[in-house]
Symmetry: C2
Subunit: 79 residues, 2 copies
């Protein structure tokens, strides 16, 4: 079973990396680019077949290791 976890910064949290990309894009001549925010994505292969257990496990992984829930949101997609 394959799963994808997406971790993004919460609204209101400063994202200097995103700001740098914004400036770089406008420097390259791309007009009409508003806010840019960068996040992380984790592609995880799971050996089990139980989707409910997998979702519980993946959320626990996010809470314990993959995301800093003080400043980041995460979403889990299975399949």
């Amino acid at each position: 079973m394959k799963a994808r976890i997406t971790v993004t910064l919460k609204n209101g949290v400063l994202d200097p990396q995103g700001k740098a990309i914004e400036h770089a894009l406008s420097g390259l001549g791309f007009d009409g680019v508003g806010q840019v925010r960068q996040g992380k994505v984790f592609d995880i292969e799971l050996t089990g077949t139980d989707k409910t257990k997998a979702e519980t496990d993946l959320k626990a992984m996010c809470d314990k290791l993959l995301a800093n829930t003080v400043i980041e949101n995460y979403s889990v997609a299975i399949g």
Copy 2:
């Protein structure tokens, strides 16, 4: 208009960060975790309304700045 660009490593490209996460997860007691690979995600706000132009622009942004197409794949989702 909002767009999300996902950049992932191509198959066969070593991902030491993903390997480290694999080991950390099994150290935390998560069983049944196979391969883990880490990628990046960019959430971009665009001011225009032309979807076709937006897609062309976003692909150009990936080719020029956001992805290293020698070792990375990217996908663009608008909306």
